[in-house]
Structures are given as C-alpha cells and as structure tokens.
Point group: C2
Chain length 151, copies 2
DNA sequence: AGCATATCCTATCGATCAAGTAGGATTCAA
DNA sequence: TTGAATCCTACTTGATCGATAGGATATGCT
C-alpha cells in the first residue's frame, strides 16, 4: 500500500477543502495551509476537477470547493483520482491475474488484499478524516499499539 | 497496495518452493515452473536468501529450499524481503507522518490502512497460499462478489 | 477600460527506480 | 575434470515521479 506524494497531497488538500466547505479556497491558500508547492497543488487540483470531485471558479475571488458534501466523498475516491487504482499486482488488477502450478490460488490472495485496503479508504469520508471521527471498524484497527510499530 | 513484478515473482517462487518442500529446487527449474526470466529469478532468490527466508546449496544438484516450514513463513515476509515495507506514505512509514491543520488526523488513517494490509499478508502462510486453504477472515474478504469487481 | 487575481494549459526537466540482461567467477558432486 | 549450479558486479533501457516554467484565459472590481 504505497501512497505517493501526489496521493498524500491530494488527501491533505481534500480534507482542507472539507473543513472549509462550502467556501471556495484558492490553490495558493491550500498550498500555504498544507505547506505544499503551489504549482504542484494546481496540477493535483486539476486531476480532482477532471474526476468531478471538486468544482473550480476562475478569476479574482476564485478557487476550489468540493463538488459534493464532505460526508459523501471517500478518501478512496480522492486517491483513485490522482494515482490510479488502489491496488495493482505487477501493473494489473488483482482479478486479472492468473497463474499456473503452485501459484494458482494467488489471485484470491490479491483480491483479499484489495478488499482490505478498500475497507479502509472507501469507508472513510473526507468529513470523518477531517474530524478524526472514524468508523468503529477503522478506529479498532489503530487501537492495538503494535499497529503503530514498524515491521 | 501496489505489488511490483519482483514481489509477485517472489511470492510465486516461494509458493513453488513451499509445495516442493523440503526438496531443493534450482533457479532454472523455478523459473521454468512459473515462466519467469531465469536471471531475474536468481536476483530475487538472492534477496530471499539474504533475508534468511531460503537456504541455498551450490554446485550440481544444488538449488534453493525454504529456510523454515511453509506453514511458518508468511507472504508478508516474502514481500518485505524483495520490496521494502508493505506500506509507505510518500516514502515514509505511516506512523512517521505528521501534519498541520485539517490533516492532523491522517496518520491514524494511514496506520489503519497498513493494519488492514498486514491483516492479510501477515496472516497467510506460504502453505496456505499454496493449498488455497486461507484463514476464514481472508476467505470472507473474497466472498462478496464485488470484491472481484474493479472500482 | 484597465488591472489584479485566479484558474488552466503545455512543455520540460532531473533524478530515481523498475525490470531485465550480460558475463563470468566460484562452488560442489560424481 | 567436468558439468551444473549458485553467486557477484555491472550495465542498459524505459518509465515514472515530483516538480517547475511560462504564459494564455477567465473574472470581478474600480
């Protein structure tokens, strides 16, 4: 589960938009609020706009706002908009893999891993990510303190 | 959750070793069994050896075998041996992230996502991956047929 | 009209990494 | 001694990531 810089930035921008919702916020204000390169933030906001996750307003007093309610947009949608699919195995979707011999059962494993990732990113909204008010299932995942240990 | 070619190859090699355990199998036999480039397979087997997951025997009749019982080695260990950590956010471990403003709660989200990934890859052994006899929790993740749909 | 402030578009860049290849040195059993 | 295997170093090739540059276009205010 590698989240790229683009992905991380996109989520940070999105939760910032969520807390300001429904006001529009300019790219430079967003970049300043999260200490990101402004130009790069613009590129990312372009991706989010093309995915119809944000609306943009041009001109003075312009900026960006979430296209839908913050409680209605999942973190997974944001990540998919800027990086591709949440889960890939050697560049393919998990269900597209296929093997011979001892490896025949691996597609089920890849699909299970994807389902696990989805069960986090697709079940947390921007509103929840902003407030820290995560669903119980998610909160439980972070409760065990070995969840916070590198491995 | 991106699994690289190295990662995929490593798991395929590992389950092949698991089914043949405890016989030693040569790199070319492994490469042939899974239709991988032989030289690349050698590189990967070198990684697995340095991680002490496989032992190697040189010379004629040499080859590779699992260093531990197939029921005792997890898929996660294999993946970590060839790619790095299972989960990273912008090149950092989830627990090392830290944000200001609206993004303050994101580290918990990253940690939850990592826990979800671990709950699959660290809970499935090579023996289980080879036989397809997954733990109930994992099997449940693949039961819903929308787990098999792209999103 | 003119100006300031935005978004938006195209292009480029350097560094890094992924995937795979090449060639040969070394080890070991028969 | 020979053949088959691991092991080591180096290299290549292409793609991708994380930006940056420069300006065209839209909008509101005075």
């Amino acid at each position: 589960m590698q989240v790229s810089a683009r992905g991380e930035y996109a989520v940070r921008i999105a939760v910032t938009l969520a807390t300001g919702h429904p006001r529009t916020i300019s790219a430079s204000a967003l970049a300043a609020a999260q200490a990101l390169p402004r130009k790069f933030a613009e590129v990312i906001l372009g991706d989010l706009r093309r995915a119809h996750l944000v609306d943009s307003v041009r001109g003075v007093e312009g900026g960006y706002r979430l296209a839908r309610d913050p409680g209605d947009v999942s973190v997974g949608e944001v990540l998919r908009a800027v990086d591709g699919p949440l889960s890939e195995v050697r560049g393919r979707r998990p269900e597209e893999t296929s093997y011979e011999g001892a490896a025949v059962n691996l597609p089920r494993l890849w699909v299970a891993a994807r389902a696990a990732v989805r069960s986090v990113f697709d079940e947390v909204s921007l509103a929840q990510a902003a407030t820290g008010d995560f669903p119980v299932r998610i909160a439980e995942l972070t409760a065990a303190d070995d969840a916070w240990m590198p491995r």
